[in-house]
């Protein structure tokens, strides 16, 4: 009894010693990283762990909702317990959490202005895949395709180029955000486009007769039978001026549709001539249209600043497997004063999300590259000012409920891309985005790789790096006709 009493007294002394005393109130937001202040988050997201940049000795964080709250203590980093966090989000969905931070900096307790986490009941697809690669411009060394649970911190490698002879591998994309339908291009002498259909892996050589290259940027038809691709001759060149880094442009590009059931290429002459450049094709949500970027060919690289891509669309008949013979321009680059790329239609068919840069084909190194969103019913354009950052924002992907999109942003340092999530409500209003939470919030500080081409999916991929190794070395590629 006596020993228990002593323990209680000691605990009370220890706890009382940690309580903030002589707290100074400052009317600024706390210097937390990542910047999670006043962001909208899905009900199923993993804890938003963060650190403080001013290196405090102690931090006391109170996350308070209407029904429940969590108090966490830490030193520099805050790791929120997963189970308590999950319960809190479920009980507070549709409401806002108030986050108050009190920190001891050089022995002085400081209380910062509180901020909010708006918990949205619209959940996000629970898995995210991306490519981890050094932003080494034109060449690569170690490349991995990785998938991460957004709800927890689980991470799996689904392809690793160490097992495939050091080859490059490109974007892993899903059909309808469905993990049982996905593909990516594996380059190299035994490479091909790896198609995953219900876990069965096929390897396809997508370069048919007369094509200028293998398939590059692509998108699945909502029915799953077709995929639309661009074929591109891609040139990387270096800028000379200050921190303008790399310019990646096409000297030729065409569009094709691939019938995945018959390994057959479907084309249309005006989409494969050399007068114009066509790239970044996607199907509309109903599969009746192909949206793509189109620019008139100009002498390159001399006229690079005149290379501006429109957004066009052409009809597609899935029953007949036919591309329409006439295209419409729905976004005129000259009028809009920019160049469009990376198109993505929302699954509900309402929006087209794309990136706009001042000029060029592939602006992931352009500081001015920003996301824009077109309402496909009204033609109205949202410049997404609350979403875009000071560096390039591009390569986005929608969630299957069309309430979230993820995009790669270099907003932190201009070099390393990270996946940011943005909420869009039923009226089309967008909210401040937040970066993918990590178990250790200093991961991004120490990482020297970019998160490329983030894509949302409804589950983990039904294959792993071992399967990809087997397909690369042992499986013959199917040749398209």
């Amino acid at each position: 009894m006596r020993s228990r009493l002593i323990c209680v007294i000691i605990s009370l002394i220890v706890v009382s010693c940690n309580r903030p005393a002589n707290v100074k109130l400052v009317h600024v937001l706390p210097p937390i990283y990542p910047d999670y202040t006043d962001v909208a988050i899905p009900v199923n997201v993993a804890p938003l762990n963060f650190l403080m940049r001013n290196e405090p000795d102690k931090i006391l964080v109170t996350i308070r909702g209407k029904n429940d709250s969590i108090i966490i203590e830490g030193a520099q980093k805050i790791n929120i317990p997963l189970e308590k966090w999950k319960a809190l989000l479920v009980s507070e969905q549709g409401k806002s959490l108030s986050v108050t931070i009190t920190a001891s900096v050089n022995g002085q307790w400081i209380k910062y202005d509180p901020f909010c986490w708006h918990v949205k009941s619209d959940s996000i697809n629970p898995w995210l895949s991306y490519r981890l690669i050094e932003p080494g411009y034109e060449v690569w060394n170690k490349v991995q395709l990785v998938e991460r649970s957004i709800e927890t911190f689980d991470e799996h490698v689904i392809a690793d180029n160490n097992l495939t002879d050091g080859t490059c591998m490109n974007c892993h994309i899903y059909g309808n955000q469905n993990a049982s339908l996905s593909m990516f291009h594996l380059r190299g002498k035994n490479g091909g486009t790896i198609l995953n259909k219900d876990g069965k892996l096929r390897k396809i050589n997508t370069r048919g007769n007369g094509m200028i290259s293998n398939a590059v940027y692509g998108n699945f038809h909502p029915g799953g039978r077709y995929a639309v691709f661009s074929t591109n001759i891609i040139i990387p060149e270096l800028h000379a001026y200050r921190s303008e880094r790399l310019e990646v442009y096409d000297t030729a590009s065409d569009l094709i549709v691939l019938d995945l059931d018959k390994d057959k290429i479907i084309t249309q002459p005006f989409l494969s001539d050399n007068k114009s450049l066509e790239t970044f094709p996607v199907f509309s949500a109903d599969g009746k249209w192909i949206y793509y970027c189109m620019a008139t060919s100009v002498p390159l690289p001399d006229s690079i600043k005149s290379l501006k891509y429109n957004i066009c669309r052409v009809s597609f008949d899935a029953a007949q497997g036919l591309i329409g013979s006439r295209a419409d321009t729905i976004w005129d680059a000259q009028k809009m004063g920019g160049s469009a790329c990376h198109l993505k239609t929302s699954p509900d068919g309402r929006y087209l999300l794309y990136t706009v840069a001042d000029y060029g084909t592939f602006p992931i190194w352009h500081r001015e590259a920003d996301l824009q969103m077109m309402n496909l019913q009204t033609g109205e354009i949202d410049h997404l000012n609350s979403v875009n950052g000071p560096n390039s924002d591009s390569y986005h992907s929608w969630s299957s409920n069309s309430r979230w999109f993820v995009f790669a942003s270099k907003r932190d340092d201009g070099i390393y891309g990270k996946p940011y999530f943005c909420y869009i409500d039923s009226t089309g209003k967008t909210y401040k985005p937040f970066v993918l939470p990590q178990r250790d919030p200093s991961v991004y500080d120490n990482m020297l790789k970019s998160f490329n081409i983030p894509e949302l999916s409804n589950g983990p991929a039904p294959f792993n790096a071992k399967d990809i190794e087997r397909v690369y070395w042992n499986q013959e590629a199917e040749q398209v006709k």
Partner: protein, 401 residues
């Protein structure tokens, strides 16, 4: 007997089974670590040679136990044999495996890294290496001291490959690692950044403090404080680079008052162009066009043309920028200009216009006469003119890589 055999057979089987299990473990679990079959048995070694050290350590430990038994029987004999064996192993081991040329190149790199250009030149003269990498450091040290066009041909020159190290898939990582130094020296910050990024990417474990220091410096010069902070933050968490990072973090705020930073910023360009990463003439021309007073870049461009035997381009650049520089015409440029003026049948007024040293003009006459007399005998010309541009122009063979 039968029972002994059975016992032995069982024991053999037991050991074989254990061996098979041990041998199969790396193979079975290799996918957990994303390793190839080869790597799973070697890891963490990268090559077979990397196993030499741990293998010799294990053998030594095993040998020590065995030798203890021998020592008990004949201690003196053992001492002598052991000492002799170790000396022999050490001698032949070092001789067979050590790359002394690489050691010398690393010492040149080290001296250049610490800013000792004069030491680099002195060591280069001493080592007299026929190596692209050694020449690379020598040329940078010469350029830093404004001596490139004076002494370029005093050293081995593998065409232009000793001026700028190519960054191609067939280069080893050490070569890619140091390839940014020349771009940083001449003031092409974007090519320097490109090469430093690749240096980081291809270094073991894709992390290098030296590359991060360079990337931080480049971004400080480019006034990209967010990118500079990224690398400085990582370095400030290291034991050995913490202090360095702190001084640079301070520069990120009070950059205007720093002499080094201001000098490097003065080299940077104010307009833009696009170029392929291996198109060095476009890059050097652009740099010189932006800053004709950037003597190091100008010397690199002129020497690049000369080592390529492109005298027309040399004369064009020299006429446009080289003549603006207030210095006596360097030896190499005088020699090259004489060839070009002679080939274009320039009259004496034009030749006089270039203020070429009288001795050079006389030497050129001597060289031409000797060349004609000996019908281009390399041995006859080598003694007096072996380090002249005329000799290089006549006898060097350029091999495109």
């Amino acid at each position: 007997m039968a029972s002994d055999w059975k016992k032995g057979s069982f024991s053999l089987l037991k050991w074989a089974l254990m061996g098979a299990i041990i041998f199969s473990i790396p193979f079975i679990f290799r996918h957990n670590y994303l390793l190839t079959i080869f790597q799973s048995y070697l890891y963490p070694a990268i090559k077979w040679q990397s196993l030499l050290l741990p293998a010799s350590l294990i053998l030594t430990i095993m040998g020590t136990f065995r030798l203890k038994q021998v020592e008990a029987r004949n201690p003196r004999m053992l001492d002598a044999t052991l000492s002799f064996t170790l000396i022999i192993l050490l001698f032949f081991g070092i001789k067979a495996n050590a790359n002394f040329d690489r050691e010398k190149i690393l010492s040149l790199d080290n001296e250049f890294y610490f800013g000792n250009a004069d030491r680099v030149i002195a060591l280069s003269r001493k080592y007299d290496l026929k190596s692209q990498s050694a020449t690379y450091f020598t040329n940078m040290a010469l350029a830093k001291q404004g001596l490139l066009p004076e002494y370029l041909l005093d050293f081995y020159q593998p065409a232009t490959y000793g001026l700028i190290l190519p960054v191609t898939p067939d280069q080893n990582w050490q070569s890619i690692f140091v390839s940014n130094e020349v771009f940083f020296l001449i003031g092409d910050m974007n090519l320097a950044q490109h090469s430093a990024m690749l240096g980081n990417t291809f270094s073991p474990y894709q992390r290098s403090a030296r590359m991060m220091k360079r990337l931080a410096e480049i971004n400080l010069i480019n006034k990209d404080s967010a990118a500079a902070s990224k690398y400085l933050r990582i370095l400030s968490n290291t034991l050995f680079y913490k202090k360095w990072a702190q001084t640079r973090l301070d520069m990120n705020h009070i950059s205007a008052s720093n002499k080094w930073l201001n000098e490097k910023r003065a080299q940077t360009v104010n307009s833009d162009t696009l170029r392929q990463s291996n198109n060095y003439t476009v890059s050097l021309n652009f740099l010189v066009g932006q800053h004709p007073d950037n003597l190091i870049a100008l010397d690199y461009l002129l020497c690049y043309h000369l080592l390529n035997k492109d005298l027309k381009s040399f004369k064009k650049v020299y006429d446009q920028y080289g003549r603006l520089i207030n210095r006596p015409v360097p030896s190499l440029y005088s020699e090259a200009m004489l060839i070009q003026l002679f080939a274009s049948k320039a009259n004496t007024d034009i030749v006089a216009n270039y203020s070429l040293p009288a001795k050079k003009i006389k030497d050129f006459g001597d060289y031409t006469r000797l060349f004609e007399q000996t019908k281009g005998d390399i041995n006859a010309l080598k003694g007096r003119f072996g380090k002249s541009y005329w000799f290089y122009y006549h006898f060097a063979t350029i091999q495109k890589k």
